[in-house]
């Protein structure tokens, strides 16, 4: 069956073997010996992983193994959590992410994030996109309008909402809200997109649309997606990493190309997980 297509030019996902060489295997984010604690409680420990530019990297694993915590440490959203301690090194295109002098506002502009639950602001559809753009210095009305239209077209939402840009964003359906959140992140032209189970709160139809959209972002953005849906990870990812809880803390068990992780994994845990025997 042909998947739902968000935009006409969206490439449908191809089988693993025929996946296009979308991305050069050039690390854009390099994580070394990263550990995260909430107070005394460790979330994950000793994660070393390179995330390639322009690729979709899926992070899979059972609940509570530190996947989301790993994601939020990459844009330093962990700064907002009291008692959260991150150790190790994260380099994003040469930028030392964890260094105290790093400008987090600038970092978060380069690293966008989509959350599990769609969370548009309680403003109009237009204001949801205009607000972050204005905050980052775009004030010219015409350019704002142009950026908003491009953002909404990018996520296939323009035709659905162009006549009601001033109506409340919260009146949109769950799938539309999630696409609006993606547009809100995309209008800031980030280089990396972190996605925390972006489809899990959506119905299958909306989930399909959002999934196609993620595929269409390949090569333009470096995408890191946490997902519980192994079939989805298999469909869309170029690279995959398996997290697992061992001795009460999350660990990176195995990482590699999606072909390797879902086809010929080395680790017994990965074999058991991708075959559906565990997790």
């Amino acid at each position: 069956m042909k998947p739902f297509s968000a935009t006409p030019d969206t490439q449908p996902w191809a089988p693993l073997e025929q996946r296009p060489a979308c991305c050069v295997p050039k690390p854009f984010i390099e994580v070394e010996q990263l550990s995260l604690h909430y107070g005394q409680k460790p979330a994950f420990h000793g994660v070393t992983l390179a995330i390639n530019q322009g690729c979709i990297t899926a992070i899979v694993g059972p609940s509570g193994c530190g996947k989301t915590s790993f994601l939020t440490s990459l844009n330093r959203l962990t700064d907002l959590i009291a008692g959260c301690r991150v150790e190790g090194r994260i380099h994003l295109d040469g930028l030392d992410v964890l260094a105290p002098q790093t400008d987090v506002i600038h970092l978060r502009r380069r690293v966008g994030m989509i959350f599990q639950k769609p969370n548009p602001f309680p403003l109009s559809i237009r204001k949801n996109l205009e607000f972050p753009l204005r905050e980052h210095g775009l004030r010219d009305r015409e350019r704002l309008a142009g950026a908003i239209e491009t953002g909404l077209r990018d996520v296939g939402l323009w035709d659905e909402v162009k006549d009601r840009l001033d109506s409340p964003a919260l009146a949109l359906s769950g799938g539309q809200q999630q696409r609006l959140c993606m547009a809100r992140a995309l209008v800031l032209a980030p280089e990396v997109l972190l996605m925390d189970e972006p489809c899990s709160a959506l119905d299958p139809l909306s989930s399909g649309i959002v999934e196609d959209l993620i595929v269409s972002l390949r090569s333009r953005y470096t995408v890191l997606i946490v997902t519980h849906n192994l079939a989805q990870a298999r469909r869309i990812a170029d690279y995959a990493a398996l997290f697992w809880t061992q001795n009460g803390t999350g660990r990176l068990i195995e990482a590699g190309t999606a072909k390797h992780i879902f086809g010929t994994p080395h680790e017994p845990l990965t074999v058991a997980y991708v075959s559906g025997m565990r997790g």
């Binding site: 970092l107 978060r108 502009r109 959350f115 969370n119 309680p122 972050p132 905050e135 409340p168 964003a169």
Partner: protein, 287 residues
Amino acid sequence: MLNTLEPHPGGWERLATTFVWSAAALVTATFCWLLGDIIWHGLSHISWAFLTTPPRNAGREGGIGPILVSTLLILGVCLGVAVPLGVGTAVLLAEFTTDTSLFGRLTRRSLDVLSGVPSIVFGLFGNAFFCKTLGLGFSILSGGLTLACMVLPILIRSTEEGFRTVPTGYRLSAAALGLSRTTTLLYLLLPAAVPGLLVGLVLGVGRAIAETAALIFTSGYVDRMPQSLLDSGRALSVHIFDLSMNVSGGDSHAYASALVLIFALLAINGATSWLTKHWLSRRIVTV
């Protein structure tokens, strides 16, 4: 199908239902009786002249013009001081301290204790501090500042609650978009916290406008038209107290003044919620 799930009312349930309904009816009836009594005795005295002319013969005759002006001035001073301080403290408590931090816990505990302090204590404090120590004397300024101290705990706590009910998702997604904390606070959290602020404001204004004990010691008794904030001014509640307790034959005007007080309270509540709705619909668009 649903009917089979509903319990059949037994004796106890009938008794409980009767009790709950009677309790509610009793409360409503008491309020209606009180309001009815005030309207019955007071309405005939209400006129434009009553609202604008000064009282004569210790309030038995004339109107309540200067008293209304004093009351509004006291309320203005109270809100002008309490709202910025209250919102500021609420922001600090809700957004910049954690539930477990010593500072946060101490401040919250102090506010809870303060909100239970009898108004006469605030009155004596206001008299000692504002009237004497700061040398403001019996004045509208002293009265307004004392009332501000009194309503601050309610205002802060309910505004803080307002901030806390804003979903964490807004804060996270705002931070993830690289929005500064100030922008997030001003354009997202503050409008979303307005309902909480409104509840605090209505409760606070209700308490302030009806306050007698704290004002007798601070803003005083003088029923002349105030010329400045440093003049003594008689609040409406003090006027009602004086007419009903100290002035024989002042009952009818006490009733009329009480009616004005109740309507003023209703008008302020109505205006606050209308303003907030109007303001909110511009700032925040919800379904």
